[in-house]
Symmetry: C2
Subunit: 256 residues, 2 copies
DNA sequence: GGCAAAGCTAGCAAATTTACTAGGGGGTGG
DNA sequence: CCACCCCCTAGTAAATTTGCTAGCTTTGCC
């Protein structure tokens, strides 16, 4: 029996680069009746204040050109209720803005989400499947299939495909993730200099500023200033809180 | 068309408690030819030194009685290569000890894993599917179907069911997770007292020992001692490293 | 009921951090 | 080519942390 997932994996192996693989994923979704696709990746889903962080990678297929701008620069990502559900759950889910009542989406929707809901209704992308992909390092991706102008019962029909779309999403992510460059993989929510990050990591490993100064062959004053500037950029009150936030933003590269 | 996943969800809704739901999941797996099931959950998959942490919940169905003891108290969990692959990946996968070559399992297997491999061969549980479930909080579960005495081509046949088993695993976890009690959800790798944790959390929020003393109406010496003891238990060199490790073990409850 | 262990209480000297100060060099844009 | 901004360099007084000290209370077990 021909396995569609093996065929998809073969397609992904043959594709060269992210854009080709996105096209392959789009074709795989089309076989299930989807017209559009969204894939995004973020090293850290939430800021320390609980706000969703704009992803470092957002890719669209067959979607209005202004969506990327609204989501990445217009603040729409932070008020996207589907993204909120995905960030807090690990289970793939069908969503519909036409009939959100009784669903996970319906439970999180609030007035602040209205601009996103309006936009998706205007562009007739009111129905889809989202696969949350939480990764072992705390990073996070979503893989979404959307149907433009869905028929009345398309949402119900989607449930038949949830298992397949979920696996396609995981296979796709597994294929593209190894090629992400360091800028995509690193949280840009707070921008620290290389010296600031280096000093934070050594501090998280238990070295005092004096020990770091000796290790890096620099004056203690220099190390203290790097740490102080990092504390300020992280909005922390002191060095300890800065380390807690740096850990949250996964800037420590596992150092502890 | 009858949706087996909706039927499974209904079954889980009707079940009372974790054990009943495990039975329901076992029955769902049996429909795909599996004979046995494993589900486990851990608030933190890895210790700060990279070693796998024994899960706070491990449930087995139709598996040798001594497996729980070997895995939870005998150190086998730490040398289980399937668990290592699952902890580092998010994609569900088929595994076979009969023919591990060329698979993710084969790439991680090393001599230190031999006791686990021997045990699974002795108990004829050499083939299965594992669904890693990484959660948004950093916690982690696995859902595994196993076939005892698999026929020669069972591994290949399993690929047909990977999508279905993956969704079943996610649905099952989603059904049981809300009822986990705090002891299961809290990392027990390092045991700190309530006062130690309280002082660590307040420290991570940027309060000095003096400020904490004022807030808790205690002497500074008292706060300092709680923090010092926590530092020792975490094996840290100082307060900053203790916070980095507490964050790693998710003892801070998001505090930063 | 008694004993031991664990947890919480608190003080102090030495070491470290915090929060300010200031200058030089490199890169980018006009 | 020059000016401005950013990053890296470094010093110091006041505040805080570290790492030890010791005693009291509570809890659990025999």
């Amino acid at each position: 029996m021909h396995d569609p997932f093996v065929a998809f994996e073969t397609e992904l192996d043959r594709a060269h680069g992210l854009e080709d693989r996105l096209d392959a994923a789009q074709a795989a979704l089309a076989a299930y009746g989807f017209t559009s696709m969204i894939y995004d990746y973020t090293p850290v889903p939430f800021a320390h204040d609980g706000e969703l962080i704009t992803p470092s990678l957002l890719k669209l297929r067959n979607i209005e050109a202004n969506m990327a701008d609204l989501w990445c620069r217009g603040g729409y990502y932070q008020i996207d209720p589907v993204q909120l559900v995905a960030a807090k759950s690990a289970t793939p889910f069908v969503w519909s803005y036409a009939q959100p009542e009784g669903s996970a989406l319906g439970r999180v929707m609030a007035p602040r989400h209205a601009p996103v809901v309006s936009y998706l209704k205007d562009t007739r992308m009111t129905c889809g499947v989202t696969v949350p992909i939480h990764l072992s390092g705390g990073d996070f991706a979503t893989f979404t299939g959307i149907r433009i102008d869905p028929e009345g019962d398309f949402g119900a029909a989607l449930r038949q495909h949830l298992a397949a779309i979920s696996l396609i999403g995981h296979i796709f992510h597994g294929a593209v993730y190894p090629d992400f460059d360091p800028r995509i993989r690193t949280c840009q929510h707070v921008k620290l200099t290389a010296k600031e990050i280096e000093c934070l990591r050594l501090t998280a490993q238990g070295l005092t500023a004096k020990q770091i100064a000796h290790k890096l062959d620099r004056a203690v004053g220099t190390i203290n200033l790097h740490l102080t500037l990092a504390i300020k950029k992280l909005g922390a009150k002191n060095r300890v809180q800065a380390i807690a936030r740096a850990a949250h933003y996964r800037l420590l590269d596992g150092a502890c």
